[in-house]
Each structure stands twice: as C-alpha cells, then as structure tokens.
C-alpha cells in the first residue's frame, strides 16, 4: 500500500520579530542582518502559548471534518505540554477526537518531518492505518536566551498539520535515516529535565528571561552544525537517489529543511541543483524546525511550483545530529 500527503495547513503566531527590532537591539544596520541571515522576520509565540496551541491553531476545518477517519494522531515536536501524558493526548482531548484515533508523540527536531512521515507511511503500508494526522509544533524561541542573537535571528515558531493517507498510486517512497550522536555536543537543550534539572541558581541566573528559561537554553556551535550539514547532506542526497533508482534529472523540485540561507545556498551549489528547482521558503518565517518542510511544500504548491506527478526530494537534517530523506510523487493537496 502506498501513501500520499493529501492536505497541509499551518499557523504562525501573530507576534513578529523583525530585523529592524533586532538591529536596534544589536545597534547595527538592518541590512546587515538581512544579508547575514537571509531572514527578514520570524514569528514568536505569544505569552503562555504552548505546543498544543500552535498545533491546534494549524488544524483547519478540512481536517476537523475528517476527525472520525484518523487512525492515528502523531505529534512531532521538541516541545511537549507535559512530561506525561504525550501532548498528542492533550490535543486529542481538547479537540474531542474519537477513541478510535490512537495517539503518540515523536520528540524530534529539524529532521522530524521525515521521521513522522516515514512512520506514518510504515503504519499505512503495513495495514495498521488508512489515514493519519501528523501535527508539528515548534516553539524554539522558548529556549533561546534574549542575548543569543544569532539564534533569535535564525529560529521562528510555527505549527503545522499534515494528513497522510492511502493511495492507489504506483509510486513507492523509500526512506533513508541516520544519526551521528556526537552531534549532541554541538546543538542541544540539555538542562531542565531529569539529567540536569533547573535549580535555584538557574532561576537566579535567568530571572530576567521569559519564564526564567525554565524549559532549558539552546546551545549551538554554528560552525559544527554548518560542517555537519555540508558534509552529511550530500551523502544523504546520493543515498535517497540510489534508493529510488533516480538521477538528479528525475527530480522536479528539491525541498530541504529550511535551516539557514547559508546552508541552503551551500548545498544547492555543492549538489549542482538548478536554482529554479531548489525551493526556499524562510525569508519571513526563519527556521521553523520540523514545520519547515511541510510549510515549504504548501507554499511551493501555492506558488505553482508543484504539479501533479512531480517527483519531489525531501531532505531533513539537524539536532541529534539526525537526518532523513525521501522522494514523494506530488498529488494536488485537498
């Protein structure tokens, strides 16, 4: 049994952090920031807004109409509402999903879309499900210190909802995954859980930060993340092509995780992907972690860059370090 992405909807919080604001804080020129990051603005969650709020806000009427048809609701995010139960359960309860819809979470970051789509495809292919709702919600701004300007410039908050279902199409997406756990040293949010819980010193140190940075502080070695991306992604690219017995010419559109303009530009050049086939969508939303690929797919269709039957390569990579990739055959979204 084959699968297709039949619907995508997304939500961006109303708060916007512009380069003008960042430039006034940093006392630099707005244009410098535009050029440095390739991002002009990004969305930031409202006070008290949590992952389930963004995921629910991303769910449109089209999805609600099909509520009784979902076999699974999978919530993929690095931001859970509670330690337990899973956030998917909270969403299930808030939206009154029927008890025939099972729930679980996948706590992944930038690679999360491929892993979630891969799991959903496996559940459908093995006959365990017919239709699955994938929800992505990312609030990286909740773990970024106000003085970590590069991180504030790169990341944005978002929620996204994707329906994956059975299809009669002949095309079979194949998946490639991998992890380099040494990457934990270079990109992480290590504090705030059982391994190193926050304490009174933490609360004192971060007393002027929103929520005392109580969900932890993101730490990134930008150089190592960049090296990982330009070293690993080309291998992933080759593996995914080989798995499908395709060459680069067989691909109509390349939609990679929208990590940063520099990473994307470097990959496009290194992989010799024609610019017109390399889709980018981050200028006004930044890096929205696991939401970035489905948002880009939705926008690519809106902009007329995708047509029925197109082969689209999806590659995601990031925290872990983790990566995953596949190729889909595009069907017009419902």
């Amino acid at each position: 049994m084959k699968t297709r992405i039949s619907h995508i909807s997304y939500h961006l919080p109303k708060n916007i952090l512009t380069n003008r604001e960042l430039a006034s804080i940093l006392k630099c020129q707005e244009k410098e920031l535009d050029k440095k990051f390739g991002i002009i603005s990004r969305h930031v969650r409202n006070e008290g807004e949590v992952g389930s709020d963004l995921a629910i806000a991303a769910i449109d009427n089209r999805i609600l109409e099909q509520k009784s048809e979902f076999d699974f609701l999978i919530y993929c995010s690095e931001s859970s509402d509670f330690v337990a139960p899973p956030t998917s359960v909270n969403i299930h309860r808030r939206l009154k999903f029927p008890n025939t819809c099972a729930c679980f979470d996948l706590p992944l970051g930038c690679s999360g879309f491929i892993y979630s789509f891969g799991v959903a495809s496996a559940l459908i292919s093995s006959g365990q499900a017919n239709k699955i709702l994938l929800l992505f919600a990312e609030i990286p701004t909740s773990v970024i210190h106000s003085e970590d300007y590069d991180l504030r410039a790169i990341f944005g908050d978002a929620g996204c909802a994707v329906i994956v279902e059975r299809t009669d199409s002949e095309f079979q997406s194949k998946f490639q995954y991998g992890t380099d756990s040494e990457g934990l040293k270079f990109l992480s949010v290590l504090d705030s859980r059982t391994k190193s819980p926050i304490n009174s010193n933490w609360l004192e140190k971060y007393k002027n930060e929103r929520d005392f940075l109580a969900f932890g502080r993101m730490e990134m070695n930008g150089l190592e993340v960049f090296r990982f991306s330009i070293e690993r992604v080309p291998t992933l690219f080759k593996q995914v092509l080989e798995k499908h017995d395709f060459t680069i010419e067989d691909i109509d559109l390349f939609v990679f995780h929208q990590a940063s303009s520099l990473i994307l530009r470097s990959l496009q050049k290194k992989l010799n992907i024609p610019k017109e086939k390399f889709f980018e969508y981050f200028e006004n939303i930044g890096n929205t972690v696991s939401c970035s690929i489905p948002i880009a797919l939705k926008e690519a269709e809106n902009q007329g860059k995708l047509k029925e039957g197109d082969k689209v390569m999806l590659l995601a990579f990031g925290i872990g370090f983790a990566w995953g990739g596949t190729i889909i055959e595009w069907k017009k979204l419902d």
Binding site: E32, K36, G222, L223, E224, F226, I230, L262, K269, K270
Partner: protein, 77 residues
C-alpha cells in the same frame, strides 16, 4: 585553482568588502565587518572548490588568505 584564482573567488563572494582589501597577505579577521558567518562562508568555499572540509581548528591556525590556501594544498597532498 591557484592562489590568484582563489583570491578572485573570495572577492566575488565577499562583495561587501572592497576587493582591493582582499589580498594574499591580508589578515582576514582584521577586515571590517568580518564575522563568524564569513568563517562559515570560507569553509563552504574551500569545500566547494577544493573538496576539503576544514575544521574550526584549521581555520584558527591560519590568518591570511595565503596561509589558508597553503593549508588547503597541504591537505590535498
């Protein structure tokens, strides 16, 4: 690619820096506006043009464009 060609690539890439300032003996960190982002661009350029992926330590060990070029050549040999 020889050093002169490498300098041309750098001048083209760093078009916000006056091209006459980008010479083989310039300490690139002394250039006005030099940032950590430029270091990443250098790594990408070297990777693209020479197939050598520099580490952070490699970059720290050199100051000038000529030293960088020689470091890359040593890695290639």
């Amino acid at each position: 690619m020889d050093l002169a060609e490498f300098l041309e690539v750098l001048r083209e890439e760093f078009d916000e820096i006056p091209s006459e300032l980008i010479t083989e003996n310039i300490d690139f960190r002394s250039l006005e506006g030099w940032s950590s982002m430029h270091a990443l661009i250098l790594i990408a350029l070297v990777d693209n043009h020479f197939g050598v992926l520099l580490a952070g330590e490699d970059l720290k060990s050199v100051s000038t464009v000529a030293e960088l070029y020689n470091l890359v050549q040593n890695k290639l040999n």
